[in-house]
């Protein structure tokens, strides 16, 4: 599914629609270039899931955990070793987990239920691609 967004607010709204059909244990990867809107997307999902605290980029800290939601960022990883997976695993337990820059962890992380890709169209617009093996999941998005 492809949805064009004209603003960060629209990107957050699309993420909110997706978040409301997800369940604890689900993993969502969020890919895209610098500035494509990955953290914006995750913020929208967190808001829809009831997170009220500031949702900021976890690039430096690697992971943020909120009530029922985890927000991870593998930007600084070259790969994910067994030891590194040991550190990341708690963030996936009983949460809906959103993973930015998932490329370094493709072999180590649980299989994502949804893959999100954000593409620059121009300075204001982004194309949001949602990919899943369960097309019916996206059909239930309000």
């Amino acid at each position: 599914m492809q949805i064009e967004s004209a603003s960060p607010e629209e990107t957050e709204a699309v993420a909110g629609r997706l978040a409301r059909v997800l369940l604890p244990g689900d993993v969502v990867t969020v890919s895209g270039e610098l500035g494509a809107g990955k953290t914006t997307f995750v913020r929208g999902a967190c808001r829809a899931l009831g997170v009220t605290q500031p949702v900021t980029s976890p690039t430096f800290t690697v992971g943020h955990r909120y009530d029922g939601v985890s927000h991870l960022d593998l930007y600084r990883f070259a790969g994910v070793s067994a030891a590194e997976w040991g550190d990341l695993e708690p963030y996936f337990e009983g949460t809906i987990a959103f993973v930015e820059w998932p490329e370094a962890g493709e072999d180590a992380l649980p299989a994502p239920r949804v893959r999100v890709r954000l593409l620059h169209v121009d300075e204001a617009h982004r194309m949001i691609e949602l990919e899943t093996a369960e097309p019916e999941l996206l059909e239930t998005m309000a």
Binding site: L34, S57, F60, T61, R76
Partner: protein
């Protein structure tokens, strides 16, 4: 003396500080050192690395201070926020140290630690003051009325300014993390060559996500050869935009809160343009800007310590509440 450990993110650090705030030892094993030690192989971002380094930094700190554990009467440790596994290495080591010597343990919040870097001698600062905390993981304006507490007056709603520096450096081909290199490159450039508007949010909050995207588009518009020639100008203009946003908000907050003194802490407090742009502010000494344990020991002086053995069940916390 206070013995402190800090393992919340990349640095494994131990320090010995007196109750008067004098640093006797301040040891930081940084990822950069390890990187060199392992011949340029990117080290793991894993708590296992903290585990390998924690005892060597403990020994080094005691040796640097010419002290033994007999000289320690309080153990302090960063409890959060940070990566859970990384924090637990420090928390477990601190519990073990305190327990074997029957000492009390002071759990310290990492952000309180950064503020308390201003309470260390020989140049300690007295509240009330406004504190700009600017690092890779945080960007906040803190209203400090008394040692050991603060109110949050403003914060970033997206990227930390240190992250904006590091990602900007990557866009300019300086590698990651490259905030310090960007600072050096900016000295040879024209800070007015490019315009990178920083979003102005209502109140005292910051947003650094958009300015990073503006730099991306500016870089994309240049031909490769031209990019090479304009790199210093891009770095200088981008740094100017980030620093200006920090300075404007800091000034506005100081006026609004009616405080005369301003402190600057965190890794970005080492940035030369930021230090020059806030000449009236007290910036933390360069050795105390990035993560260290001396600031944790300093903060421990204003925390109610847990008496032996009540801390054995102490847990780390990943995110700020």
């Amino acid at each position: 003396m206070i013995f402190a450990l800090e393992t919340s993110c990349d640095e494994t650090a131990a320090a010995l500080v007196t109750h008067d705030g004098e640093i006797r030892a301040n040891v930081v094993a940084s990822q950069a050192d390890l990187h060199a030690q392992f011949g340029g192989v990117v080290p793991e971002i894993a708590s296992r690395r903290h585990l390998e380094l924690v005892l060597p930094v403990v020994r080094q700190a005691l040796s640097d201070a010419g002290a033994t554990l007999d000289d320690v009467d309080l153990v302090a440790v960063t409890r959060g926020p940070g990566l859970i596994g990384a924090l637990l290495v420090g928390v477990s080591a601190a519990k073990a140290l305190a327990w074997t010597r029957r000492l009390p343990l002071a759990p310290v919040d990492h952000l309180d630690g950064h503020v308390a870097s201003l309470y260390l001698e020989p140049d300690s600062l007295e509240p009330p003051f406004l504190c700009l905390l600017a690092s890779g993981g945080h960007t906040m304006l803190l209203d400090v009325r008394a040692r050991g507490s603060f109110g949050v007056a403003g914060r970033t709603v997206d990227d930390a300014v240190g992250e904006a520096f590091d990602k900007g450096a990557r866009l300019l081909g300086l590698g990651y993390p490259g905030g310090a290199e960007l600072d050096r490159l900016a000295r040879d450039g024209d800070p007015e060559a490019f315009s990178f508007p920083v979003a102005k949010l209502p109140g005292l909050d910051f947003s650094f996500s958009g300015v990073k995207t503006s730099l991306l588009y500016a870089v994309k518009k240049l031909q490769p050869g031209e990019l090479e020639r304009r790199r210093a100008d891009l770095a200088a203009s981008y740094q100017r935009a980030l620093v200006r946003a920090l300075v404007e908000r800091t000034d506005a907050a100081a006026q609004l809160l009616g405080v005369e003194r301003v402190g600057v802490v965190g890794g970005v407090a080492a940035n030369s343009e930021l230090r020059a742009s806030l000449p009236w502010a007290r910036a933390a000494p360069l050795s105390l800007c990035t993560d260290n344990a001396a600031m944790i020991a300093s903060a421990a002086r204003y925390v109610e310590p847990l008496p032996y053995p009540r801390y054995l069940g102490l847990d780390a916390y990943a995110s700020a509440a």
